[in-house]
Amino acid sequence: MSIGREDVLHVAKLAELAVSDEELPKLTEQLGRIVDYVAQLNEVPAGEQAPPYLAGPDKVTLRPDVAAPVPLARPPADFAPEFSQGLFVVPRLGAMEDQ
């Protein structure tokens, strides 16, 4: 069950990751090897089961759901790529809205 050029382009689109034509052949070959390697898990019979593994405590203790300002060493305008009038600024949605 290997992975092909079209799979890589499809997944790159899902991941919002630009992939150039030049890097595509090597990337496809490397991803194919990784996918072939991890596919060995199919050797484990589906009926072989253990209690599901859950990371962390049995019961997660949540803090009170109270809105409070997060203490920051500097304001968002200092670390946001673009910030104006209390808002994070992004380009127009344009092409995405057309799809």
Partner: protein, 479 residues
Amino acid sequence: MSAVESAANAVREGRATAAVGAKEVASRLEKAAALNAALSWSAERLDAEASRVDGATPSERAKMPLAGVPIAVKDNIVTTEQPTTCGSRILEGYVSPFNATVINRLRAAGAMIACKANLDEFAMGSSTEHSAFGRVKHPDDPSRVPGGSSGGSAALVAAGVVPAALGSETGGSVRQPASFCGIVGIKPSYGRVSRYGLVAFGSSLDAVSTFGRTVDDAARVLAAMSGHDPLDATTIAQPPLVLDPPRRDLKGLTIGLPAEYFPRDLHQGVRAGLDRAIKAVKELGATIKEVSLPHTRYAVPTYYIIAPAEAAANLARYDGVRYGQRRVGPAGDLRALYQATRGHGFGAEVRRRILIGTYVLSSGYYDAYYRKAQQVRALLAEDFRRAFDTGCNMLLTPTTPTPAFKAGEKTEDPVAMYLADIFVCPVNLAGLPAVSFPVGRSEGLPLGAQLIAPNFAEAKMLSAAAALESAVDAAAEVR
């Protein structure tokens, strides 16, 4: 007495000042520049760290278990004073508006943050060659890698620049470089240490972990930052780790040797190092028991489905809007911004893992890969439970299948690189604590062994590791 204890005692008792210690660290960081292990530090920053300790009252200082101890911090743990790059161009120049909980706790314990340490980009790698800011060199042989992904922290401890350092583990990223560099690396139980402020990679796996030149050095740092944190709901509601007094023997303990970690084709030097550790276990009075962890061979493929899947989700935030050096794509719209920012900002290994993670979570492949990996992860955790249920207090294994390899040896073959984690990543999949400690050298290169313990049995595990450390001559060549 360990380096950390002795340095802290001297400052606490007024026989030394943090300011002098800070100047010495600055000088050592300068001399070690060729290792490329530190990404950001300054003498001024170190002076400010020292002032906080020296400016405390004697009674305040007396309560600081790490008074004046300089600690290097892997650059995926956020600090407000220095940049946090995660070894990535996408975060170049980013300075966090808050400190990680572990940073606040170490400072409260009197520690000085010495520098931010180089790493594989977003902690993805086993050699610290995948940093956007250049590879880290092994302190004993610059042509070799220090291991990864916490290779900068490991190299700084091994080179004697700092007595202890913070790294992070997702699949062995502290124990593996500890083994390659001939130092100690401790991975705590999942939930023992807060991850608030650790940049997320694999959220069901990540653990802030520690390095030291001795078990005691690394353990003291771990104890100081452990304990429940209301800002991280995955921490266990337990008090901080209390270390056991050092043991002189291992009487009454049963140490398991899992057959799958001692394959016939195991590197001869690694095998000889483990033989030396096993001999010491017997001489110290423990009982040896052979056990089996039958799903071990599936740990690396399981890890390389689960970790990339979690990484693909966690790294979605680096989009040029919330985080990341923004680049506007040719179409000029939001999607072009995402794709151009991420396409340009991430390096080769991070891109591979995001793509694999997205693939195994995508429609039509989720059951075949991700759900299957969760099934096998449960079986791997069950293997460990059964071994401990048969009476083993701990398991002893090699940390790595080989000593440190040459730079460039595995960079073009991702699967070969992933196999460097074969003995360390099962522990992360099961959330267990483990410690790697040096057991000798093969052709001049350090070798490591690891003890793996049941969940939250760190105190017993670390006292046993300290006893073994005293009984094994880590500087001697194995035969």
